[in-house]
């Protein structure tokens, strides 16, 4: 009996190796884990200690201040304003970027002749450095009537819509959000495209035979089967939105005033402009915990609605 079981197991293992390959030994991960520990974990944990001090970021002088930095954070108008901006940008980016990404994916998943070229065009901004994209859009947002977007509006007879895109405190955050969405919608599109490729054509054909229209097929077949892609896109854009930094610093530096400050720009300014590294680290810790909590809740919910074909 034992011989039979062993033989069956050996055969199963052979079959498994033939089918899928070998399980990589965990030892292979050790060099990467060591590097990760040295480059990420050690600095992060040692830096976290600074959140409980009044360290300026330079020099050796520092005193333990307990939870003072955290108490101050929740009474700091600038930080609370930055939190509001961060949440606004995150919601805008998650909803609009993924909405546009989905529409683009559905568009280029059809049989149109130029679909491959369009995929490349829509994805192209993703591979450009965010700093370069920001400078490009800073030029587009030039407030002069004869430059950039304002000039284009003039040219098509919409001169009355000219704006100080980055200089108007009420408008600047929208302008930044648009830039981020413009750059990243192609990324969402690619992930949705991968999801669409996995939707079996037979299901659509069956539904069509049953008389289902385009909207009904999208609602009852495509959308449920896209759930894994939605999970990935929503997760990535949420984390990206909550930690948005590069585009803000390059385009507005958090201004005008504090109109586009996010938690990331506040922690940068506290550390490097105000010379309050301890407080900055407290902001960073709260941000990290907040991002982790949001991601955890989100992934739990989104995973629960995933289905397979």
């Amino acid at each position: 009996m034992t011989t039979v079981v062993t033989s069956v197991r050996r055969d199963a293992a052979k079959a498994s190796r033939r089918r899928g390959g070998v399980a990589p030994p965990w030892l292979f991960a050790v060099p990467a884990l060591i590097v990760y520990a040295l480059v990420v974990l050690y600095p992060a944990l040692s830096g976290a200690g600074s959140a409980f001090t009044d360290w300026s970021g330079v020099g050796a002088q520092r005193s333990f201040v307990g939870l003072d930095n955290f108490t101050q954070l929740f009474h700091d108008d600038q930080a609370l304003g930055a939190l509001r901006n961060t949440l606004f940008l995150t919601v805008a980016i998650v909803v609009v970027q993924n909405g546009i990404g989905l529409l683009l994916a559905l568009g280029v998943h059809t049989g149109i002749k130029s679909r491959m070229a369009l995929r490349v065009i829509f994805f192209a901004p993703v591979v450009v450095s965010p700093v370069m994209v920001s400078f490009l859009w800073k030029y587009v947002y030039n407030p002069a009537p004869d430059a950039g977007l304002n000039a284009a509006l003039n040219a098509i007879g919409l001169g009355s819509l000219r704006q100080d895109w980055l200089g108007d405190p009420s408008l600047a955050i929208w302008s930044v959000a648009f830039t981020v969405i413009w750059q990243c919608a192609g990324y969402s599109m690619v992930i949705f495209l991968a999801g669409l490729e996995g939707v079996p054509q037979e299901l659509h054909e069956s539904a069509m035979v049953d008389g289902a229209g385009t909207v009904a097929r999208f609602r009852h077949i495509t959308w449920p089967l896209l759930a894994p892609a939605v999970t990935i896109n929503v997760m990535l854009s949420t984390v990206g939105g909550l930690t948005l930094y590069t585009q803000i610093i390059a385009m507005t530096n958090g201004g005008p005033g504090y109109a586009t400050d996010t938690l990331s720009t506040v922690l940068y300014k506290q550390a490097f402009v105000y010379g309050k590294f301890g407080y900055s680290t407290a902001v960073a810790l709260v941000l990290a915990i907040f991002v982790a909590a949001v991601s955890f809740i989100q992934i739990g919910y989104l995973r629960s609605r995933e289905t397979t074909a």
Binding site: P256, V273, G275
Partner: protein, 428 residues
Amino acid sequence: MALDQFVSRRRLLQLMGGAAAVGTLAACGGGNGSSSSSKGQLKVIGVGDQEAGLRKALDDYKKAHSDFDFNLSFAPADQVQTALRTQLAGGNAPDIHVVYPGNGSAMSMAQLSKANLLADLSDQSWTQKIPTGFKGAFQNDGKTYIFSPGSSMLGAIYNKKAFATAGVEPPKTWSELLAVCDKLKKNGIVPIALGAQTPWITQLIDYALVPGTVYAKTPDFDDKMIAGQASFADSGWADAMTKYLELQKKGFFNDNPNGTTYEQATSMVGTGKAAMAVQVSAVLPAFQKAAPSPDDLGMFPFPATDVEADNWIPGGVVVGIAISAKSKKADQARKFFEYLGQPDTVNTWAQAVACVPLYSDGEPKVDPVLKPFLPYLKDNKAVPFMDQRWPNAEVQPTHFAVVQELLGGKTTVQGALKKMDEAYRKPA
């Protein structure tokens, strides 16, 4: 399912190859880490405003000392805060680096010397020649930590052709200034170019007005602020900010100053599209580069009041350099600083960045553009840049932000000054 747990041999090899490639690339990138100073070069980092003077001083010194070599780089002021502070925190600061005089900024002499990051220069002979009124910019606890070639004047850099087109002359009182701006505007010329999207530009008009609205009446205003006997909100700062807004309300700035950068404003004045910009004399060379001829541009003290005698000027010690306390080439650096302290070198550097030399043997060589400011210096009517005596690094960026909010209509003068007072009272 298999994808979760198994990787084919081919894929495994591909991944390992990729990792090796990344490792190789990372190793290539790591080559940048080898400091050029290991070859015996002195590593020097400055801000763009210093380039003309600092580069010439280093070049001249190198010509006279064959064993001396340096590696010089510059960064915009905003980036210096990040890059240099990170290097300072990491203990790998350059041998010589930019430092701002006095206090009030995270890269200021007072803040860095308190953290024991700057070498004490008190034994250098030139430190004895620092004028008494400027010592606060150079010294902390009686020790000198910074070299600066002199003082920069803050006033209006103006385009002479634009003024001639409108038939106006540099004004001497606030009312005259408003009249000049009005005439310029009627001639289709933007009276004052303001690139308030660049944070440090936002402060300049306040700095130009406050000597007249605050210090002419209360010369010891800074001492009173430190003692808690005065506040921004209850001082002539309110008058200065109200005048700042008056210029905006009358349409004397370019459209959308909050969306305009320093570079765009510089170009506007250089080309004559705008008539003037309130600026420090140290950036005059940048304006001259933007103009068809350097002679197209002049400077005049920006009047704050209608009483000529009350129109004091801001004249602050210009951004300087210091030796890192941890420099392994401190001896070489100190010899270079002794050379910098010679009156001829001070004069040469000061001329290159359009500032008044710290001291000189005999008559100082001053850029003719600065001559309108010299009587104020002689009459002790020059006030150091305000931030140089602010007690922490938070007041200045708060000032930047509230001015942008004022220009954007998001706050009031009292609201803005209240925020500055709150920042002032925070611990250093």
